[in-house]
């Protein structure tokens, strides 16, 4: 973990970065429970398309969400390289376990919190609520996601009504 002795500006957090249609995204590593290969899931009827289905994860039933479809990126066939990142999401007092589908996992980065730029305001068209900020690494932009907001079950439902 980070050391609290240091001042707030130089706190370092670790992020797991992954690829999604040539874009780099990152999530807090402490939220990540495990990373596994893609496997067939059981479809849940009448749910938004980006909810691929549920998976048996050692006895608990875990929903899997396709981030490409969630972010309206073009769909791509699942390959052996496709991974599922299992995340632990906090919502109020409850904890949920959910998986997200990503093209590939890239790296674990130490990011100084001071180096996280606020996500720019794209106007009303693009929702930046689920973004924690941006980080530039080797001249590439990494979008850091706020997992708790992105995957909260209410949101998952709310989006359905928006579409």
């Amino acid at each position: 973990m980070t050391t609290d002795v240091q001042s707030n500006n130089s706190r370092v957090e670790q992020f797991l970065t992954f690829q999604l249609a040539d874009e780099a995204y990152g999530v807090e590593i402490l939220k990540v429970q495990e990373i596994r290969g893609w496997e067939a899931v059981r479809i849940i009827p009448n749910t938004p398309a980006f909810v691929k289905g549920v998976l048996n994860l050692r006895g608990s039933v875990v929903p899997i969400i396709d981030l490409r479809e969630r972010f309206s990126l073009e769909h791509c066939e699942y390959s052996p390289k496709t991974v599922v990142i299992v995340l632990c999401v906090e919502h109020g007092p409850n904890q949920f376990v959910m998986g997200i589908v990503a093209d590939a996992v890239s790296d674990v980065l130490d990011i100084n919190l001071a180096d996280i730029k606020k996500s720019p305001n794209f106007g009303s068209k693009i929702d930046t609520r689920y973004m924690r900020g941006m980080h530039v690494y080797k001249k590439k932009m990494i979008m850091l996601l706020d997992v708790d907001k992105l995957l909260n079950p209410d949101e998952v439902e709310g989006i359905e009504s928006l579409v």
Binding site: A40, V41, R42, I43, I44, P45, N46, T47, G53, V54, L55, N56, G59, S60, V61, V62, P63, F96, V97, M98, P153, D154, V156, E157
Partner: protein
């Protein structure tokens, strides 16, 4: 040095509630006048262990109260006092009061002082009413009550002020030197003498007590803050008591005056003040008033014994398990481990000639796993007596309120059922029994006129049948009047006038919301809410409820419930590439059909004619948006006729796969509720299958 006592609280409360239940059932079986000492002993033991426990944990309110009960019970036990109905009623009331207090403490709320004082006064009235009342405790207790009532009567007086207002006495800081004990002085003896002067409150300061290794048991490391409350105590009296220890301690005696610092301030300074009563002395218990005056002016009306039954369903988050069950489980686990290591050995140097051994091993593993599952499930099973045991009291209270003579018979109390079911079945049963008491059983005079015995009987019966537990409530009362039910239903517009209803359907009318035939609404039942809630609750548990009744002879209400909520018998069906589980209980039959056998109804979807009845058809492919699999298959498929909420309907699936027991997993744990789906399970190949919620599906499809 400090032990966190709160870790034991849960156990303490459980024991207390168990003790209270034992006391209650004991009190109810007491024969008037004739004293069965064994029963009184049981009650006494219950009271005594509650007193001891609450003293240890510092719940002095409870300890004091129980002490008075104990005094009364003690006299009954010794035969010094007759066991009378009023006394038993007061004791029953006290049990309620104790339960209330304990629940309040458990929930970290304030104890309702006024109700406690009321019950206490009732107890004392019984105690004092006796010619043999000689208990030395009485004056002290009286004082306590008076004091409390005073505090209660002064609204908006805060704690400390009230102390100064109505207390006269002395405050003593008593700090013995280390070798006090070696001189042969015992502080407890001093306190006992002080207590005879007036009401004594002690606060023990243990902050000087060294760690365990440095501790010398012969040294006195403890100091005390004492407070003696009482009129006419002179300083000399106190000095006299401490005469013997004068050279062995530091002492400060001050009168309790308006200027004196109230002891709560002392509490703030000292890290670990432990307020205890001098419980190791056999002398009369001093009354610890300090913890009580939370008497906020919130005059919470003393709760009627009426709604207590609903409240006392404590959410016990732990369960007590028979050691036998645990032993079986441990045995089972041992067997599984042995089989596993045997299999491991076979697998290590595997060759084809070991196939037989492997198969045997696997068969063994399968059996052990099934046994293991069985015994784990068994741990969750509780005897239904957990629910039944509170009904004698309910019947006793209500029948005396209604002036009816009613005997309650319990049959099959040891029938075991899942803990979750036990918890949820209580409220519906209470409701049904109240109904039987109020509407079912007639007044004694009416019964005699009808040629029945004066005393009515309600039988509460539990037994296993199939994978279900059946609970029956049988009364020999007046029964349901079909004509009256019908006319009432028509009057209320619940049914059409010229509807022809079967007997069963007529009885089912009482489950409709807003239906009540009671001419008079009593506080026990008759408002017409409730029966529909009862039915809904039971259905939500996956059970159903049936009524059989004969006018003038009585009514039988039978509740069928699944034994457990964790496992379900299911039929797996295939829809495209998907597998779904249909709960076996809701399946009536399955029929192989072709497309042509379905009739299209304009605007209303499809129906299927089954023996002259037209049933709506739900296409699972359509409703669940399944596109995978071979579409030609939908030309012919399987119709599963299911019943959901009394309605029949057909599910069109591609194939029936097989029956199996499935373990229910919640979808909500990680996701949310999905319409038409009640949960998920994991199949033998590790994949997930959804369990269909048949009533939900019917609702969903009709929208």
């Amino acid at each position: 040095m400090s032990i966190d006592m709160s870790q034991f609280h849960q156990v303490f409360f459980e024991e207390c509630f168990e003790g209270l239940e034992a006391m209650e059932s004991g009190l109810l079986t007491l024969d008037m006048g004739d004293i069965d000492s064994e029963i009184i002993n049981t009650i006494f033991r219950g009271a005594h262990s509650i007193k001891g426990g609450s003293g240890t944990f510092g719940f002095t309110v409870v300890a004091d109260y129980t002490h008075i009960m104990e005094t009364l019970l003690d006299e009954m036990r010794d035969g010094r006092r007759k066991v009378t109905q009023p006394a038993v009623d007061v004791l029953l009331g006290s049990v309620d009061c104790l339960r209330e207090m304990l629940t309040a403490i458990q929930n970290e709320q304030d104890v309702n002082n006024s109700s406690v004082a009321k019950h206490k006064a009732a107890l004392e009235a019984v105690l004092n009413g006796s010619s043999v009342a000689e208990a030395p405790v009485l004056p002290i207790e009286h004082e306590a009550v008076n004091e409390k009532t005073i505090i209660d009567n002064i609204p908006h007086v805060d704690e400390e002020e009230s102390f100064e207002l109505d207390e006269q006495g002395w405050k003593i800081a008593f700090c013995p030197y280390l070798d006090l004990l070696k001189t042969g002085n015992d502080p407890v003896r001093l306190f006992r003498e002080l207590n005879e002067l007036g009401e004594l409150t002690t606060i023990v300061n243990v902050q000087d007590v060294p760690g365990f290794y440095e501790l010398d048991p012969e040294e006195c490391n403890i100091s005390w803050d004492l407070k003696v409350v009482g009129n006419d105590i002179s300083g000399d009296d106190i000095k006299e008591i401490f005469n013997w220890v004068e050279g062995d301690c530091e002492m400060d005696i001050q009168p309790l005056a308006k200027t004196s610092k109230p002891s709560p301030t002392v509490n703030n300074v000292i890290p670990e003040p432990v307020a205890i009563a001098v419980s190791n002395s056999p002398a009369p218990k001093p009354v610890e008033v300090k913890s009580k005056p939370n008497a906020e002016a919130k005059k919470a009306e003393s709760q009627d014994s009426d709604n207590e039954t609903a409240k006392n369903m404590a959410k016990a988050s732990s369960i007590r398990v028979d050691t036998d069950k645990i032993d079986t489980l441990i045995n089972m686990v041992g067997e599984v481990v042995i089989t596993q290591s045997m299999l491991g050995l076979v697998g290590e140097n595997f060759s084809m000639d070991k196939v037989g051994q492997l198969k045997r091993g696997l068969a063994q593993l399968e059996r052990h796993t099934r046994d293991l599952q069985q015994s784990v499930m068994n741990i969750r099973m509780l005897p239904i007596s957990f629910v039944f045991s509170r009904f004698p009291r309910l019947v006793h209270d209500i029948s005396s309120k209604l002036d009816k003579k009613i005997v309650l018979k319990l049959v099959g109390e040891n029938t075991e059922v899942d803990k979750a079911v036990v918890e949820l079945i209580n409220d519906p049963l209470v409701h049904l029994i109240r109904n039987s008491l109020d509407h079912g059983i007639e007044m004694p005079a009416d019964r005699v006129a009808a040629g029945k015995s004066e005393t009515g009987t309600i039988e509460l019966k539990a037994y296993h049948r199939g994978g279900h537990i059946v609970i029956e409530i049988i009364d020999d009362g007046r029964g349901l009047d079909k004509d009256k039910l019908l006319s009432k239903a028509i009057e209320k517009g619940l049914i059409e006038e010229n509807n022809l209803l079967t007997e069963k359907q007529i009885f089912e009318l009482i489950f409709m919301p807003g239906f009540s035939t009671a001419e008079q609404i009593t506080d026990i039942s008759g408002r017409g809410v409730g029966m529909d809630v009862v039915r809904r609750n039971i259905q939500s548990l996956g059970g159903n409820i049936e009524i059989v009744s004969e006018l003038g002879k009585g009514t039988t209400i039978a509740i069928h419930l699944p034994l457990t909520l964790a496992i379900l018998d299911g039929q797996s069906v295939a829809v495209g590439d998907e597998t779904y589980i249909v709960p076996l209980v809701s399946i009536i039959e399955s029929i192989n059909i072709t497309e042509r056998m379905l009739n299209k109804v304009a605007g209303k979807g499809e129906t299927f004619r089954l023996r002259n009845e037209y049933l709506p058809v739900i296409r699972m492919r359509k409703i669940f948006n399944v596109h995978s699999g071979n579409p030609t298959k939908s030309k012919e498929g399987v119709l599963v006729v299911v019943e959901g909420q009394g309605e029949l309907c057909c599910l069109l699936v591609d194939e029936l796969l097989g029956q199996q027991q499935v373990v229910i997993k919640s979808l909500e744990a990680n996701y949310r509720r999905v319409e038409g789906v009640s949960g998920a399970t994991i199949l033998g190949d590790g994949s997930v299958a959804l369990i269909l919620d048949v009533p939900g599906l019917v609702r969903f499809s009709t929208r």
